[in-house]
Amino acid sequence: MKRSLLPPVLMTVLIVALGAYSEARHSEFLGNLNLNSLLLEAMPLILVSLGQASALLVGGFDVSVAALMTTCVVTASYTMTPSMSGFALVPGALAVVGVGLATGVFNAFLIRVLRLPSIVATLGTLSILEGVSLLLRSYPAGPINSDATTALNSSVSFVPLAFIGVVALAVLADRWLYRTRTGLALRAVGLDATSSRRLGMPTGRTILLAFVVCSVMAAIAGFYLAAEVQIGSPIIGNQALESIAAAVLGGASLAGGRGSFFGTLLAALFLTEIDNVLPLFQQPTEYADMAIGALILLALVLYQAPDLIARARTARRRVQPLPAKAFDLGSSSTN
């Protein structure tokens, strides 16, 4: 099997397996109502994880995304109030996207111009945004326009329209990443920024764009979070680490340059599914956290299995007497 196919295939298998198990235990799992709520519940994490994947592709992290989502929800509670209707909501929605855009540019400025490591830079942004959210709403208040939230949640049968949208987005993004010149350039910048700059590629602009995309996706995720909580709450977003987990489970490399948007989408869906099914079994959520951690480790081990197997084989050969000819040690040579 091609290595890049492993993450999406593994995620699909896990999603189906967990679904089948849950259905066997509780027949309501596959009901339209539950599937619909599962997919809607997954939307914020899917969107923010797709953004996170783009930051990971250029070799960075963005830990400020969850705080940004919260800030966006709080902003929406001012700019998208229940008294508005129709096109009056558009400027309010643009304001929320604007918050994301501004945060992305700010992050990119810290990383590209001030040369801060992305994890430290976005940690600073995270604190600032948390403070901003609390400043705007010190406690949950300000209902969010229900026309907007209803529109966001509109579905065909049990499938939310927005879910169809993100699937299409992820598939197109992957095609772009692996089948086009600019996608190749992005991966090159993520793999080796110095060589890319030497080859005349706009590395600074690429990294800036990746972080802006990440923040804008987080802002859009904020809409879906708003649709879920429906009120300006300053203490809700906690998807920062989960979004990194989803991107990595989806096949992204922490070193940059590798990843899959569709794999990320599936992984985000799977992580949400775990959260979703646990109440069915009346298990406390601690198990969910432990399960997520164990699964991430397991998946990473699996993704690296080809390397590990090669290494194990080498180790075994070293103990045995060697045949003089067939001597294959994998790819350990440097010359």
Binding site: L191, L199, A324, F327, L329
Partner: protein, 511 residues
Amino acid sequence: MSIPGPVSPAVLSLRGVSKAFGAVQALRDVTVDCRAGEIHALVGENGSGKSTLLGIASGFVSPDEGIVEIGGARLPRDSPALARRLGLGIAYQDYSHVLGLSVAENLYLALPAEDRPSYRRMHAWAADTLQGFDLDIAVTAPTDSLSLAERQLLEVVKALLTHPKVLLLDEPTTALGPDAVDHLHALVLEQARAGAGIVYVTHRLPEVLGVADRVTVLRDGVGQGTFEIASVSEESLVALMIGRPLEVAFPERRAPHADADVLLSVSGLHGERFGPIDLAVRKGEILGIAGAEGNGQVQFLRALAGVEHAAGSATCDGAALDTSSPLGPLRAGVVLLSGDRRSEALFPVLSVRANATVQVLRRLARVGVVGRRRERTAMEELVRRLRVRMASAEQPIQSLSGGNQQKVSLMRPFLRGDVKVILAEEPTQGVDVGARFDIYEALRAKADEGVATVVKSSDPIELAGLCDRVIVMSRGRIVEEIPHGELGERRIVEAIVGSRARPATGEGAPA
């Protein structure tokens, strides 16, 4: 004594360029121009500012002062993308490959965006391109699976793909065997004939004297003048580079002791790309390993150091050598000087001091605490002896020039004191003439103390001048042994060519 040449326009012109890195003045008011159709050699010792000059010309480094003009147009700011658009192509000494991508993808990225074929046609186009350059490299291969020689040729091909008006080559032959060098020179001459200007930076004077039209010498960041090639000789250039005539290029050899004890003995050693090999190296002997690149020399050397896996047996000073990990050889006093300084031999961000003493901290420590003064003292004498050029022992080693870095890694066997065998892989790769001599002298001094030394080098002159005996490897086996009395550049090259002429079985060296 610059002679006005025929009236061809300058395709690259650097005027009054200066650059300082911290307290080090890398370049001071340097003016160079390269005309269309000429091959312009740029020579100078390590740390003389050649790489900085190329960095400025290519837009990768911004000068403190001075003007860069490419094809008559001024480069307004430091931007490799802009320099490329103005018509500059460069082959970097440490390459510009994205190692996680395939050969085809790397070639594709090297093209100017408007010249790129559709993404679908990338592989076919890349295969055609490589064939056009007579290179036998699989386009789907990951770049990190290529040999150093293949990477180096690929780097030059990438620079040529932009059809540059001016082509900068930074040490383009360090990993190449003799006929790959000829191949490269043919490509370069073709470019010059087509009207491109070539700036050729190298340490190998004979090579560059053979192809260049003019030569500019740099010393300590200051231009020493530009000369027609007919008006200079190797000796006069070396004298300008180091500021004194270099009479002896190699340290004196003592008469070889045929009856000295065998220190390192190898029997039936074989690994992925070499063997089986039988070999004995005596006390005080420097043994050279010659051969075209990619014939298992490096793997053999690394296997002896326990870095590469191998089977068979080796003994050091009579005791069996455990080569299953680097620990065994290190404990037995077998030290590898890796040719890959950046990623294997050194800790680039650590200080010169830390790099020099990292293997002997126990000896410098009392009750577990390293005495800074003891450490300094141990080092300072070696800094003088090996003539390491640095501002301070605390500066990160990556800020030293290549030759000085190599000298620091050579300090380790000196500091250890109990070293029995030194395995040196390309000990003077990317090192200038003056520093080369210091390194040869250091290796010879260790040999005279009774150390057995094995030197793998792609430079036949170096092998002939430094070694007591040279073995020639081809396709992983020893095909010829050249005794002391017969050593000479010609003899070694002939042996390499001879062994390569035999029928091929495995994968050969690149064209």
